[in-house]
Structure formats: C-alpha cells, structure tokens
Amino acid sequence: MTMRPWVRGVLAGPLSFICSWLLMAGAALYLPSGRAGVDNMVFPIVLFPLVWSGLFLYALLERRLGRGYLVIVALGLAHALLIARHLGVAP
C-alpha cells in the first residue's frame, strides 16, 4: 500500500488543479452574466483559488480514495464536455 500517498497526491495536486480550471472556464458558460455582462467571468476567476483549495482538502480528507477520484474526475469531465460543446468540438 506504499503507492497510496502518491495516488492521493496526484488527485489533490494536479488533478484538482485541472478540475478547478475546467470548473472555472465551464462555469462562465452557465452562470448569469449580470447587468454588465461580466459576472459570469469575474466570479469563477475570483473563486478559482477557493475552489482549488476546497478540492485539495477534499482529496486529502476523503476516506474512500476511489470516491474522491470519481467526484473530482466527474466534475472535471462534465465541465470539459460543456466547454467542448460550446466550442463546437463535441456534439
């Protein structure tokens, strides 16, 4: 079981970071844009550090590592799909 810390580290570090990036970029597509048409972009950018540290802590504290992977990868994939559809890359 010596691999476990690394497996968890990859989830908490790089994967959480990529997931937060996708979350930030994807959220801009469905958040309300407000009166000036910028809120949908500003809030994800502002919240990006908080989202990442939230996911980081979650990844380290989740007892079942498999579920941790599932949640973070699913969250990232859903937003990746949303972005791909918006850019016309995916159906």
């Binding site: 000036a36 809120d39 550090p49 380290l60």
Partner: protein, 527 residues
C-alpha cells in the same frame, strides 16, 4: 464547527506542516518583499525626490506640454497615449504603437516615453524603445520596482512567475485553513506565550499565538494574492479561450470596456487640463492616470482615473470624448461597461491586498499584517525543523531556513544601498541591484555554512541593523536632499522614511538576552 477524527486531525496537521515547509521558504520571500512593497510609492518618493516643491497629481499647464510633445512624436507611436504621476512627482507621458517584430505575424509594443518634472514641467528624460527598454529607464522607481517584481513573480518570466506566486498563495491559504482547523481550540490560549519554559514550547507558542491573531488577514492576503497571480496568467486566458472562442482582443475589449473606433476624421484634442480637473472634481480626489486612444481623430477617447476618495476603498474612472472634452459617463473602475456585482467584488481585491486605501494609516496597518505573516511563516519553519533537530537532514534544513529568514532582509537592505550608489555613479541600476542582492545571499549562505547557525543569525541581524542605520547616510551622500531641504520643499516622506529606517536599525541592534529572542538554537533544544 468541523469535527475531525484523530486520524484526520493528524493528516490535516501533516498538510499544514508539509505545505508550510515545502512552500514556506519562497512564501517567506514573497511575504517579506510584499510587506515592503506596501510602501512602494513612499520608497520611490523617498529615494528619488525632485529638487523643487513636491507635487501630487497633474499640475495645470500639463496640457501645453502634452500637445507640444505629441507633435514631436512619430505618428506611428500615437496609437495609445497615457500619462501618470509617480516617483516623487514625476509625470510619465507614454506614446505607444505596434512594431512588427522579427517573428512573422507578431507585434511588439514600441514607443516613446517622456519623464517630466511635475513642478517645472520641464522634460527630464526621453526614452524610445520596446516596453522593457522604457521600463529600464525609469530609474527613479527602480528600488520599489525591485521589491514589487520579487513579490509579484520572484523575478521569473511571465507567466511562470505569476503562476508560482499564485501557487504560493494557495499554499498560504491552505496553511491558514488547516492551521485554523487543527489549532482552533488554541483560540482560548490567544494570550498565552510561555517564554519561561523550554525551547520547543516557547517556539511553539510564538508560532501559534502569532498565527492565531494573524489568521483572518493571512487568509485574506493569500486569497487576494493568488487571485492577482491567477487572474491574468490563468483566468483571463481561460475566459478568452472558452467564452470568446480564443479571441483575446475581444475578451479584453469586453471585460475592460475598450471603446471601438467609429470616426477617423482628423480633429484636435480638447484641453487635457480641463478633463483632468473635471475628473478630480467628480472623483473627490486627484486624477493620477489618463489613458487615451485615437488621439487626433474625431472619435478620440480618454479615461481618467482618480485616487481613492477619503473613506472609500477604490478610486474611480471617468470617460471623456477627448476631441470635444465632453464628459461621457463614469466607468466601473475595473471591469464591464456599467456597475455590476462582479466589478464590486473584483474591485474589492485591490484594497484588501494592497491596503493603500486610506493613506499612511492603512499602509502602516497592512505593513504590520505583512510583518506578522512573515513572522508566522518563519517561526513555523523553525518550529518544524526544531521538532526534528535530532536528524541531520533537518539540521541542514534549519540552516536553509535561517539563511532565508535572516539573510533575505539583509540582502534587501543592501540592495537599497546599491540602488543609491549605482545611481550616483551612473551605472545600470537594475543589474547592480540584482548583483548586490545575490552577493548578499551568497555571503549569508557562507556565514551559515561556516559557523554555528545561531552565531550567523545573530550577525545577520546585527549587519541588517547597521545597514538600516546607514541607509539614510547613503541616500544623502548620493545626491539626496538633506532633512532641512526636504522639509523646506514639503517632502516629509524623506524624513519619515529615514526616521523609520533608523528606528528599525536601532531595534535590530538593541541588546537583548538570548532567552527573550524568538529564535531557539537547535543545540539548546536538543540538549
């Protein structure tokens, strides 16, 4: 309240310690330079005051100088024109255009920059070239810029430097969050520092108590700091890519409300003084920055930024039709074409991070907050190495922590000396600053490596103290004004900063017993 199992408490404590020790060294550098950078305006005003009365804001008569210089400049560099007041009352007037670079399809900003004495309106210097060439010519602000650059990107190229400081900010946020989670019961001990106990307990108390008190602002500074690092290096490119399908120009135009051109009929520019005065009256504070596009055409446009009005957190921005001088509307100071929740939140990041919304009062408070954060970082790293002092590897790490902890402030003060002597002898200020900074870092490493850590540390504090005490002398010897002349010309900043340096130097040299010092020698702890 979050309830943690014993296992999770252990894990959170590990995250706290490891994120601190892995990122702590660089984080400490970012915090120290950031703490000094709170006073970056004062540092520039103190290190490079002009010889006459000190001026604040644009003086009347700037319009005439502006128009004369505008005529002189090659029309290719008149696409964007802006002017700002900085560095002891100098006005920087900048004309910029796009230069076809050697790489095909790439453009670079090229232009002409004038430095104007805000008091006499005489041109002090003219520089023509690329962005970085013009920046290098701003010697009056080079010392403050050195600290700011180290703080913002650790002198690494963009976007990597920003990316790294962003990650450091995330690390600091994590350390604050996890510190709160594991130590929250210690809030009851907020006044308990056991200096009369053994070394480890003293080190622990010193770290935990400073951490407890500075926790809310450490979180705020880390959060806003990582926002600044990531917003431009990660956030905006992401939005350009996704929301605007890769069109960076359109993204910038949309987010920062750039005006579109609509009429290229030649037309003279309205009186700049009048627009500046109008904006000052509307904003309740002096105008300090004006940015113009399409000057010389009927659709010329100007945006004027004012300083923060007393009692407010941010300055304001006003848009003008620059050919007629007609006021158009107030623009949100940061993002969008009209007020929005997003702009309010984004605009809040600046005062929360920089702390320069209420003059010297808020700056002094933010400086103290930065100092506390630096203390928490350093004492935390020392505590971590002290707990593991029996192991050789951690003893070496303690040496590295001492090197950064006490060598960095010494290197920073020596850099300031280098700034003055380099300017006085007419050599390139930027390179001399870096050379002296690194030489000091190497010297500090030698001091640590060759003798006992505790002795080296004590010497570094003494040397920093002496260097601080001598800094006003260096300034004065290198053509700086005397106190009498500074006070006569209303340059109180010169005397105030000198006095602050003398007090800080005295504090470093003040004799104190070893027990009272925050640092605990490794040998004492393990014996």
């Amino acid at each position: 309240m979050i309830k943690l199992s014993q296992d999770n408490t252990r894990r959170v404590l590990d995250i706290h310690g490891w994120s601190g020790i892995l990122l702590g060294l660089l984080l400490y550098a970012v915090i120290c330079t950031g703490t000094v950078a709170v006073f970056s305006d004062e540092i520039s005003n103190w290190s490079s005051p002009l010889s006459g009365e000190s001026v604040d804001g644009f003086p009347t008569g700037f319009n005439a100088v502006f128009k004369r210089l505008y005529e002189e400049v090659d029309p290719r560099w008149r696409e964007e024109v802006d002017a700002f007041v900085a560095h002891g009352g100098r006005i920087y007037l900048r004309f910029e255009g796009e230069l076809e670079s050697e790489q095909e399809g790439h453009h670079e900003h090229y232009g002409v920059e004038y430095q104007i004495d805000g008091n006499t309106l005489e041109v002090l210097k003219r520089t023509e070239g690329l962005d970085h060439e013009r920046a290098a010519a701003r010697e009056a602000g080079a010392l403050a810029e050195f600290f700011v650059d180290l703080h913002v990107r650790l002198h690494l190229p963009n976007p990597w430097g920003l990316f790294l400081t962003g990650v450091l900010g995330l690390g600091m946020m994590l350390a604050a969050l996890t510190g709160f989670v594991v130590h929250r019961h210690l809030i009851r001990e907020a006044f308990t520092i056991r200096r009369n106990k053994e070394a480890l307990l003293r080190a622990r108390d010193a770290h935990v108590i400073a951490g407890t008190w500075s926790l809310p602002f450490a979180f705020v500074l880390a959060f806003t700091g990582s926002f600044f690092s990531f917003a431009s290096s990660v956030g905006l490119p992401a939005m350009a890519m996704v929301v605007f399908s890769g069109d960076q120009e359109r993204a910038l135009a949309e987010v920062f409300n750039r005006h579109e051109p609509y009429d290229d009929t030649p037309a003279a520019l309205a009186n700049v003084d009048t627009m500046l005065a109008d904006a000052s009256a509307r904003g309740g504070a002096k105008a300090v920055f004006i940015s113009m596009n399409y000057v010389g055409r009927a659709d010329a446009f100007a945006r004027v930024f004012t300083q923060v009005e007393p009692g407010q957190l941010s300055g304001r921005a006003f848009d003008y039709a620059a050919a007629s001088g007609e006021f158009l509307h107030e623009n949100p100071v940061l993002v969008g074409k009209q007020p929005s929740a997003g702009n309010t939140v984004a605009a809040l990041m600046t005062p929360l991070h920089f702390g320069h919304f209420a003059g010297w009062v808020s700056k002094a408070v933010w400086f103290a907050l930065g100092f506390a954060a630096a203390y928490v970082t350093l004492s935390g790293m020392l505590l971590w190495t002290l707990r593991r002092a029996q192991r050789r590897a951690w003893q070496r790490m303690a040496g590295v922590v001492n090197w950064m902890g006490y060598g960095l402030p010494l290197a920073m003060v020596l850099t300031a000396h280098a700034y003055f002597w380099a300017r006085a002898s007419g050599v390139a200020v930027g390179s001399v600053q870096w050379a002296v900074f690194w030489a000091a870092a190497v010297a500090a490493a030698l001091m640590i490596g060759l003798g006992s850590q505790a002795r080296a540390r004590a010497w570094m504090i003494r040397l920093s103290g002496a260097a601080l005490l001598l800094l006003p002398l260096s300034r004065w010897l290198c053509d700086g004004p005397s106190w009498a002349s500074a006070l006569n010309h209303g340059q109180q900043v010169v005397v105030s900063v000198d006095l602050a340096l003398l007090v800080a130097g005295g504090f470093c040299l003040w004799p104190r017993s070893r027990r009272r010092e925050g640092f605990v020698p490794v040998a004492e702890a393990t014996s």
